[in-house]
């Protein structure tokens, strides 16, 4: 009986988190675009525009290239599925998500990587020049972000003596000094750079461009249409919301629900939405003042992130 209740509560948490991240991710995109527009003195599209776009795309006809193989079909599904899977078990609304004991930071990184890889493969699948170019650039960036991300995980988990993500969040709530420790700060700075690179924001990639010389992510999804494109958009925005959610919960862990009660979940959801919205607005404001970097300058930024994370690891050796 109590096992059933626990299962129900866990399922409930998972559903809340997935809905919040999938729907909220699209709204986050809207908020970021709105911020940008306002900063540039334009009115801009309404915040719910990305949501409306997705609804419109779902109702449209699906067109796939004649040469497409199952890899092409699987791409969007894998991107969305990995994002949903991680969202369901990540400590976003509550620090006691379903399967909390198995939510390892390394596993989270690897599952999300699976989504990126499948999208790159799908882009190669149709053998169009743009797809290949986008995939090549995305993998270059990915190859540079992964070591940094792993160093970040290392820096966060060495002092806590665990790489369990909910435990890392809880540790911050229990002992605020952990959040202020140099190792954590350095690692989170690096994590932020990695998030910006992984989700294709400025200055790494311009999500609004369709200029062939500069686009990276858009080049990969150029061949998708209708429901497929909707799935890709949802999956990618969910990734952004998910990564930002993990980031804010590690940086500012207060307000994360300790358990799975309804009231706790409601408060936790509200706090999460507020924190992620603030982070999104901050990133969008930063983007207004930033130009896209040349591709050859990207290694500098990402090497910087790697070194910051490495310093984080080193400083955990100092502070124990």
């Amino acid at each position: 009986m109590s096992a059933l209740v626990r299962l129900g509560a866990a399922a409930c948490v998972a559903v809340v988190q997935v809905l919040l991240v999938a729907g909220g991710g699209l709204l986050l995109l809207g908020v970021m675009r709105k911020t940008r527009s306002r900063c540039e003195g334009r009115v801009g599209p309404p915040v719910r525009q990305p949501l409306l776009d997705v609804v419109k795309l779902v109702s449209k006809q699906r067109i796939r290239p004649a040469a497409a193989s199952p890899v092409f079909v699987a791409g969007p599904v894998v991107v969305a599925a990995t994002a949903v899977l991680v969202t369901a078990v990540a400590p976003l609304v509550t620090s006691d998500p379903p399967l909390a004991r198995s939510t390892d930071f390394f596993a989270v990184v690897l599952v999300l990587l699976l989504g990126s890889v499948s999208l790159a493969l799908a882009a190669l699948d149709t053998a169009t020049p743009f797809g290949g170019m986008g995939a090549s650039r995305a993998t270059t960036i990915g190859a540079l972000t992964e070591p940094a991300l792993l160093a970040v995980v290392l820096a966060l988990s060495v002092p806590a003596r665990t790489s369990n993500l909910p435990a890392l969040v809880r540790e911050g709530i229990v002992d605020p000094r952990v959040v202020a420790s140099p190792g954590r700060i350095l690692a989170l700075c690096a994590f932020l750079v990695v998030i910006v690179a992984e989700t294709g924001r400025l200055p790494v990639d311009n999500p609004q461009t369709h200029l062939e010389l500069t686009m990276i992510h858009e080049a990969m999804v150029l061949e998708y249409s209708g429901p497929d494109l909707a799935l890709v958009t949802v999956g990618e925005s969910a990734r952004l919301a998910l990564l930002l959610g993990i980031f804010v919960n590690l940086a500012v862990p207060w307000g994360v629900a300790p358990g799975r009660g309804a009231a706790e979940l409601a408060v936790g959801s509200a706090v999460l939405v507020a924190k992620v919205a603030i982070a999104g607005i901050a990133i969008a404001t930063f983007e207004v003042f930033t130009a896209k970097l040349r591709l050859f300058r990207l290694p500098e930024v990402l090497a910087g992130a790697f070194v910051l994370a490495l310093l984080g690891v080193a400083s955990t050796l100092v502070t124990r």
Partner: protein, 219 residues
């Protein structure tokens, strides 16, 4: 200051000194590099103040005040005036490119941890454990002097080295007697003024502040 918050404050201050050093290798704009140096000076002074307040050591607090004025304000101001006069104020072509030098700074940090082993073993306090950070800053300073080609960024490298050594001195020994501190500060200040004047002369004679032009003397 109580135990845990003292340790956290000290860690943050020493960490900030090292991070500023790493960031100077990241940035290319000379003005940004000099501003990072100023920030590092303030962080260094904070370390001295925290240590001084913890040990109730008036001299060390005084040294912290001197450091703020000297390294946080005076030296960066002198350097910024040079940068403002220079027409192309960017580090254009360092001998080692930025990603590689960032990786090198990471390696130097690890080297500092390895070398500082005996020191850490001798001083089993919070401050003692942070000594490798100062050593790493010093090594990064030497590295910056070796690979950077602009006169200003070489001076910055020298000051990084000096700040790193000062951090080691504060953390390991609680600073030198005031006379020596003042002498050392005066020396560094004069050195930068000398370097600035020389930089101006280089600018007059060679037209640029790029040290690659200095190749008349060799065997």
């Amino acid at each position: 200051m109580s135990g845990p918050s003292f340790a956290t404050a000290l860690e943050l201050g020493a960490g900030a000194v090292l991070v500023c050093a790493v960031l100077t290798m990241w940035r290319r704009s000379l003005a940004a590099i000099v501003r990072l140096l100023a920030l590092q000076g303030v962080a260094l002074a904070a370390v001295a103040l925290v240590l001084g307040l913890h040990a109730r050591d008036g001299v060390l607090v005084g040294v912290g005040a001197v450091v703020v004025v000297e390294k946080g304000v005076a030296l960066p101001a002198v350097l910024l005036r040079v940068v403002a006069r220079d027409t192309s104020s960017r580090e254009t072509a360092p001998l080692v490119n930025v990603p590689a030098s960032l990786v090198a700074t990471g390696a130097l940090t690890l080297l500092a941890f390895a070398v500082a082993g005996p020191v850490v073993a001798l001083v089993p306090t919070v401050a003692g454990r942070l000594v490798p950070l100062g050593l790493a800053t010093a090594l990064i300073g030497i590295f910056a002097m070796a690979v950077r080609r602009r006169a200003v960024s070489q001076i910055v490298g020298l000051l990084l080295l000096d700040n790193g050594i000062a951090l080691v001195a504060f953390l390991a020994t609680g600073g030198f007697p005031l006379v020596v501190e003042l002498g050392a500060s005066l020396d560094v200040l004069l050195l930068v003024v000398v370097a600035r004047v020389l930089g101006t002369r280089l600018h007059e004679r060679f037209g640029v502040l790029d040290l690659d032009e200095l190749r008349e003397l060799h065997d």
